[in-house]
Amino acid sequence: MAEYVLKMNNIGKSYYGVPVLKDVNINISKGEIHAIAGENGAGKSTLMNILFGMPVIFETGGFDGEILIEGEPVQITSPQKAMSLGIGMVHQEFMLLPGFTITENIKLNREITKRNPVSMLFGKSMESLDFAKMNADAQNALSQLGMSLDETRLIGGLPVGYMQFVEIAREIDKGDVRLLVFDEPTAVLTESEAQQLLEAMKELTSKGIGILFITHRLDEIMRVADQITILRDGVVADQKPKTETSIEEIASKMVGRKLEVSEILRRSDLYNEKDIILDIQNLRVGMPGEEVHDVSLQVQRGEILGIGGLAGGGKIGIANGIMGLFPASGTVMLEGVPIELNMPKDPLSKGIAFVSEDRRGTGLLLDQSIEMNIVTPTIQVHNRFLRKKFLSDWLRLYDTVGIREHALKFVKDLDIRCTGPDQLVRRLSGGNQQKVCLARAFSLDPKILFVSEPTRGIDVGAKKIVLDILVELNRNHDMTIIMTSSELGELRKICDRIAIVAEGHLAGILQPDAPDVEFGLMMSGQKTEVV
């Protein structure tokens, strides 16, 4: 039996009764790269939080199972403990001080000092820094990674790729590192930097360090990993050496089939595929964390178009960019008329409505009544629900009677569970809040409805209702719907076509009944189909 640097046995964890990890076993030998693949929400980050003793785990009742480091059972109760056990972490976002040099960052809080007259009097904290030794150490750590960098440069001006290496160098420099965790390390790197990083990882394993590599880039897994674990919905979907699997197999196991395919009638013949209602060309959106780099997409009148992809891939940015909520460029034509970007009022008044993924942030006025939440955009954009003209539209009183009637209709139609239209939205459940958001968008009488993450954070029963409402709007009210969702299952359930966005680009458009492997490959940016 190989000598395991880390064994995680039967790890299980649930948040507030919802299981997120179940019976996960992971074994890492010395000098091995163990890759963990999985969709968002598969449990990767929870697993890492457990390994690092993050407070969030203990605040929510701890976890099941045991962790062994080199055969010894350990209790990892804090990140400090994890570090002292020789577990190092390379973060996705950098934890570096921009105003410090590379050496200073690497050696922070572990400085090498030498005695001086003052320290003889006042003790160790007054000793001066031995920069020569520290620089040598830093240079040594960097060169182990194959980097030639001036260690006295400030972090501030470095390219992001180099910062990543400095992070790694800091972990190596700790000396007694036995296990390094790389969490999506290549997400911010360029092609060649990623290449170099992968080389460095291999180099590290030759020193007997075990590596846990979390990524959604399947080609990188195939390039460097020895063992592969695929997580899906908190359980291990598969675990085998790289040599016994293929990129297609990983992709398909990662996605899996979570929902029975569609009991909803398909009807590709009901709308005209040549009738383009919305034409998006070269859209770029500067939404932090969800940047869209260059997306061109045609939406057909009457369809439900799904937009899927991994978190951070840019799928969320598309709707937010078109609606003017984040800086965008490119051209968007609605029925041949250009939409003015970066002007939220323009798409609204031309007939595009948006149900935001950020329900409590952008979607609702939490301390306002249901009825005012529903009608506010309509009042502002279309001057509806206002009493008779007085000097200017701005000074027209709103029509409380009309608003109440309108709200009551929606409360009934969408089955919003509330004490009345004057109830504060804050007091509603997530599902009912989402219905208010839908009512708000629908009040605008849009031709096109963007819906982002419509079922996030609501319970299963409400999810079905929300999806049913969307299908009903589409079929009976001729509304073209563009639904963005992280849940592939629900996209495949109600959409006519599904566009997959990866790394800010359109990876391709698939039919909802396309095989799992196609979705998996496109989502991880492996396959780009020109459409």
Binding site: L348, S356, T362, L365, D367, Q380, L397
Partner: protein, 348 residues
């Protein structure tokens, strides 16, 4: 009936019930020590009318999410310019008063736009910056009061001086015109009907303003800016409108105040006028992000009544002349109290 009353009392909230209790205690002491109560009440009403519109000026900025308008002195000095011009032109009576109000508005609008622009550059620090905008506008205008070309002999320093006096009597112009309008007296209590009606008029205007499209847009901006943007509201313009409204109300407020007081106070007069207004609206139950016309009315009533009756009562109980000290302690103590609970509730 009993239940409605109970709901109403509980709805006032503990801080207001405490103050009402304290007020009751003061009235009891006043009665016990033989002070005449009706003139005290009449005096309180007069002070409510005087201060009311300046408290109302807090409303638009709070509703727009900017917080309390500590820069109220800027609006006040703008309003004073209108009051001075009306005086210079020798307008008297109601005409003089309304001209003072109207002539001040253009100045408040212009300074308000500049103030709004400044506040848009310091998002999140509006109240701190506003305080100093208020102070510096007072200092700045102190120079201009000396050099502006006003020539009316009742306005400039006596015996051939130049520059405006620090206190200008309105007796021969429009002093007391609102107070005397339809005023009457019951059992020693003088009711300044016109002044109260003028305050009520602005309460009604603001109440209805926040039920219009523009008012709704300002509310949405203050409650959730992303929601407002996603609803097609130009939030920057809404904040500008709110600041300008507040500034204009400050200008109108000072004219109403001055006509009742009988004097225009220049130079450092307006320096600390924002603080009683801030205290009043907070005591009325507003927070830094939420306020209503009701908060303004309740707050002004409680604050001004407390100020008015606490002084004679303390003077009665404690020997020696500590009225001025007592006034400072009570007024500023209430501001501290109101601000701590204001930020505690609103500063999420």
């Amino acid at each position: 009936m009993w239940k409605n009353l109970k709901d109403f009392v509980l709805g006032l909230g503990i801080p207001r019930l405490t103050i009402i209790g304290f007020l009751g205690f003061l009235f009891a002491v006043a009665f016990a020590t033989g002070l005449a109560i009706p003139p005290l009440i009449g005096d309180s009403l007069r002070r409510v009318g005087m201060a009311g519109i300046m408290v109302l000026a807090m409303l638009p900025t709070v509703r727009a999410g900017i917080g309390l308008n500590f820069g109220l002195p800027l609006g006040i000095v703008s309003g004073l310019i209108g009051a001075l011009i009306s005086m210079q032109l020798d307008f008297t009576g109601f005409f003089g008063f309304f001209m003072a109000v109207l002539l001040g508005i253009p100045f408040s609008v212009i300074s308000g736009i500049g103030y709004a622009w400044l506040l848009s550059k310091v998002r999140g620090q509006e109240m701190m910056v506003g305080t100093y905008v208020g102070f510096s506008s007072v200092a700045f205008m102190s120079i201009w009061w000396l050099v502006l070309p006003f020539t009316h002999p009742e306005m400039i320093w006596a015996i051939g001086g130049s520059g405006l006096r620090s206190q200008l009597s309105l007796r021969n112009h429009y002093g007391q015109v609102l107070n005397n309008f339809l005023s009457f007296e019951i059992g020693g209590m003088a009711v300044p009907t016109g002044l109260l009606l003028f305050f009520a008029l602005f309460c009604v205007i603001l109440y209805y303003f926040f039920r219009t499209k523009a008012g709704l847009a300002i509310d949405a901006t203050g409650q959730n800016e992303s929601y407002a943007i996603a609803s097609g509201v130009n939030t920057k313009r809404m904040r500008t409108i709110a600041v300008v409204m507040s500034n204009v109300l400050g200008g109108i407020g000072i004219v109403a105040y001055a006509q009742s007081y009988g004097f225009l106070q220049l130079y450092t007069g307006p320096m600390f006028m924002a603080f009683p207004a801030v205290a009043a609206i907070l005591i009325g139950g507003a927070s830094l992000r939420k306020a209503s016309v009701t908060n303004v009315v309740v707050g002004t009533l409680l604050f001004q009544t407390l100020l008015t009756i606490s002084l004679p009562v303390t003077a009665q109980v404690i020997t020696g002349d500590i009225t001025e000290i007592a006034r400072l302690i009570i007024a500023n103590g209430m501001i501290v109290y109101a601000l701590t609970r204001g930020s505690g509730k609103g500063g999420r």
